[in-house]
């Protein structure tokens, strides 16, 4: 799919915030000089192509009772990654899961109500996927967190 300047502007705009108004697409469209129907059509096309995942509230983890979180690194045979990911992804507390180019080739983030629950979940997952090894890597200190919402650098295609 070839995305044009308007698509880029549109994504940039609705990533920042989406109006909580009766006719949000009309308002977004007005800002960008397109009509409501075109705004909906463009956003729908970008969604179908998977460039836009969804338009939704980004809920804070503490609001749903998650007080503990960690990053877990798993070392597992390449051919068992998908099977393991399927098991891991079924947990609601798992928000990100990536295959990575390292010895430890599967990395996921896990949230839980408490530290104890977090450790119990890791143990349970370990028993279910039977990996070569698992590392629990909780954040000890944050030096920088800059979520880049700027899409200036978005390229074609």
């Amino acid at each position: 799919m070839k995305i044009d300047e308007t698509d880029r502007e549109l994504m940039k705009r609705i990533q920042k915030d989406f109006p909580l108004r009766r006719r949000p697409f009309r308002e977004i469209g007005e800002e960008l000089g397109i009509n409501e129907v075109e705004a909906i059509e463009r956003i729908s096309a970008l969604s179908e192509e998977g460039l836009i995942r969804n338009i939704s509230p980004k809920i804070r983890s503490s609001e749903v009772g998650y007080e503990a979180s960690t990053l877990v690194a798993v070392k597992i045979e390449d051919e068992r990654i998908e099977e393991a990911a399927e098991i891991i992804n079924r947990y609601d507390g798992v928000t990100h899961n990536y295959e990575r180019t390292a010895d430890y080739n599967l990395w996921f983030t896990l949230h839980a109500e408490t530290e104890e629950r977090l450790n119990a979940l890791i143990e349970e997952i370990e028993q279910r996927i039977e990996p070569e090894d698992v590392l629990n890597l909780p954040k000890e200190k944050k030096y920088k967190l800059h979520v880049d919402l700027d899409l200036e650098e978005v390229k074609d295609g």
Partner: protein, 155 residues
């Protein structure tokens, strides 16, 4: 948050419908008025229940830069200093300290580097290595090859 707030969040957390009046559609599914859904979503935002209401994009599909997780093996007493040095690079978007797992995974500093390409990410990592004063064998750039799950926190 009451039961209705939770019902509304559950209804919209995976995305609002892409129709002219999305909140009316959400309201009708819950047997509520459009106005009430809007008022409650505003209130939840003011209360900080969610950070922003907006689009989640798939940066990888859009062709948004390369993203390297560079991990560093730093002596215990220099981790903070190294973390501060790395954080000063604008291409570094996240920088965290995590426990070193001696003999298995000897890295305690994690930096996410965003740039136009893998090559550029590696150039930046080299610069950071020079600034911190670590050797090539003391760090590695790790890339994600497949996204197996990416979602927000769900209620």
């Amino acid at each position: 948050m009451d039961e209705i707030d939770r019902d509304i969040l559950k209804e919209v957390q995976d995305g609002i419908p892409l129709v002219k009046r999305p909140y009316e559609e959400v309201a009708s599914r819950l047997d509520l008025e459009e106005e009430e859904v809007l008022t409650r979503l505003e209130k939840l935002k003011d209360e900080g229940v969610y950070r922003r209401f907006g689009a989640s994009l798939n940066h990888r599909k859009i062709g948004f830069k390369a993203n390297a997780m560079v991990v560093w093996d730093i002596e215990e007493e220099r981790v903070d200093e190294a973390g501060n040095i790395a954080s000063a690079f604008e291409e570094v978007t996240h920088c965290y300290r995590r426990p070193k797992k001696e003999g298995k995974w000897d890295y305690s500093l994690y930096t996410m580097i965003h740039s136009d390409s893998k090559e550029k990410c590696e150039k930046i990592a080299e610069k950071i290595a020079d600034s911190i004063g670590v050797e090539e064998e003391d760090y590695q750039a790790v890339y994600s090859t497949r996204e197996l799950k990416k979602t927000g926190v769900r209620i």
